[in-house]
């Protein structure tokens, strides 16, 4: 289903507050109308029913929880240690920046000047597959690669450098408003997800090029107001997203060298500012909607929502977009509600602790990062595995004009190199590993947040419930989307 935006030309696509969206989510799972008369025909050749994978995943999470309670009595990730293993040549940073600018320029050029057929143009595959999914898969391994490639940052730094050399310099940036936090990044990722999953013109390369220019313009304004690095740390949706994923990695790139650290330990140093939890809920929620929108449940709900909007006077296309927008936002709210439920539960184990709920939510926000990654891998792995191959012929013919720059323009997409069964196993493994990593991070943080280990462990009952809920939700969405 994730591949659909490339292939389909037409549009396809305090406690009470916490309980309401959860109830909505559960109702969606069990709603009889949602799955009426739809057969669950799996393409995979699995030895056990798919739902049994949900049980196995829950068992793994419970076993991990018990193992953490027994074998992990001291925080191990909270005081990260790292060691420098290599120097980083000074030319590497501007070189990577120039490469990023070149790729961005090529994407824009292809978008405006190339064939406007989605699969014949480099822009859609580069943006939705290699950039959005490919970088998300690479960043947790090699570190924050996007920071080096970021074309907007590279251009801004080049302008600042030239201004400095010219002796003029640039005006001092304004102090970044604390209240803004990572909210601009959350809105940026939500807007991107909307384009990817809702916008009917997403398959049009020129539309994508215009939107990329608009996004770049917003970044330039942000950087000029608040400073390049500050804006990239808090305001640039992609900068923040890949920066978070890069914190999972055992590598950290700095000006003075390459550092090695324990995987996940980079996340414990995440500064929690407003909007951090929202950004993570947006990542998980929008990815969930990607799965949901490919399933039978949404197939039953969306026509009703669309009819509702049409009855209010909107035309079919706009009504469909509005229906999908409602689904997208509802998915984010369900995820946010689940997390808030877990946080409120954690607070309940120590009634003497008067820490505000938002602060506790922020304290454990880093545990959502591996879950976000798990959701992205689980939902988009097939997209990367299949649609990513298009780069073979698009590299030689980026504009779809019949060019053959590297002699590969006859390359095709091999849909048999990885089986549906293998994809299912990758999806399940990603979800389980991501949620176990989330449990580890939450447990480690609980050990320094609560008065004693016993209270810390009891507080994590709630996080265990949240993790199992996310895992079950993820597997259900995937099984529905794959059917």
């Amino acid at each position: 289903m994730q591949a659909c935006f490339l292939d389909c030309a037409a549009m396809h696509r305090h406690r009470l507050l916490a309980i309401v969206p959860i109830a909505a989510g559960l109702a969606l799972v069990v709603a009889p109308d949602a799955a009426l008369a739809h057969g669950l025909v799996g393409r995979e050749d699995l030895p056990i029913p798919k739902w049994l994978f949900g049980w196995a995943a829950a068992a793994v999470l419970v076993a991990s929880f018990v193992a953490l309670a027994v074998l992990w009595p001291e925080p191990r990730l909270e005081q990260p240690s790292e060691r420098r293993v290599a120097a980083v040549p000074r030319f590497l940073d501007p070189l990577a920046g120039a490469l990023g600018v070149a790729i961005f320029a090529l994407t824009l050029y292809a978008g405006f000047a190339g064939d406007q057929t989605t699969t014949n143009n480099l822009a859609p595959t580069l943006i939705f597959v290699l950039f959005w999914v490919g970088l998300a898969v690479v960043s947790p391994v090699v570190g924050d690669l996007f920071k080096a490639l970021n074309p907007w940052r590279a251009i801004a730094r080049a302008v600042a450098w030239i201004a400095g050399r010219a002796g003029r310099g640039l005006p001092e940036p304004m102090p970044y408003p604390q209240r803004l936090g990572r909210w601009p990044a959350a809105l940026g990722i939500l807007a991107f997800a909307w384009v990817e999953l809702v916008y009917s013109g997403r398959g049009d390369p020129s539309n994508l090029a215009v939107l990329a220019l608009v996004y770049a313009a917003v970044q330039f304004v942000g950087m000029s107001l608040y400073g390049i690095e500050t804006w990239n740390r808090y305001g640039d949706g992609f900068g923040v997203f890949y920066g978070l994923l890069g914190r999972i990695a055992p590598l950290r790139w700095a000006r003075d060298g390459l550092y090695v650290r324990r995987p996940l330990s980079g996340l414990t140093g995440l500064d929690v500012v407003p909007g951090t939890v929202a950004l993570l809920c947006v990542i998980i929620g929008t990815t969930s909607f990607d799965g949901l929108s490919g399933g039978a449940a949404w197939g039953e709900i969306s026509p009703q929502l669309t009819d509702m909007w049409r009855s209010l006077g909107f035309d079919q296309s706009l009504a469909l977009e509005l229906a999908f927008t409602v689904g997208l936002v509802a998915s984010v709210l369900v995820v946010a509600g689940l997390y808030r439920f877990g946080v409120l539960g954690m607070q309940s184990v120590d009634p003497r602790d008067a820490t505000p709920t938002a602060e506790v939510a922020g304290r454990f926000a880093h545990s959502l990062v591996p879950i976000g990654l798990a959701y992205v891998i689980a939902h988009y792995f097939s997209l990367l595995a299949y649609e990513g191959q298009r780069i073979g012929y698009l590299a030689s013919d980026p504009l779809g004009t019949g060019a053959n720059i590297f002699g590969t323009n006859t390359a095709t997409v091999d849909y048999t190199w990885v089986s549906a069964t293998a994809i299912w196993y990758v999806q399940v493994a990603a979800l389980v590993v991501g949620h176990v990593a989330g449990l580890v991070l939450a447990h480690d943080r609980a050990l320094i947040s609560f008065a004693d280990n016993r209270t810390a462990t009891r507080s994590q009952y709630w996080m265990l419930v949240v993790m199992i809920a996310f895992t079950s939700l993820g597997l259900w969405l995937l099984s529905a989307a794959n059917s």
């Binding site: 799972v29 069990v30 799955a35 029913p49 009952y461 809920a469 597997l475």
Partner: protein
């Protein structure tokens, strides 16, 4: 009402995805109640101790 019942096999399978969550919530809920009772007992014993000493 008839249609959902006639297709119960189709949608009921969705419940199996929620089942592990329900089981874990039930077990942890029971454990939480036990913990609270034990804490209350321990608290009560601590409060009684000075009286007994007097």
């Amino acid at each position: 009402m008839i249609a959902p019942l006639a297709h119960v096999g189709h949608w009921a399978i969705n419940l199996l995805y929620v089942a592990p969550l329900v089981v874990v919530v039930a077990v942890l809920g029971y454990q939480t109640l036990k913990d609270r009772r034990q804490l209350r007992r321990e608290g009560g014993q601590e409060r009684r101790a000075p009286d007994e000493a007097a």
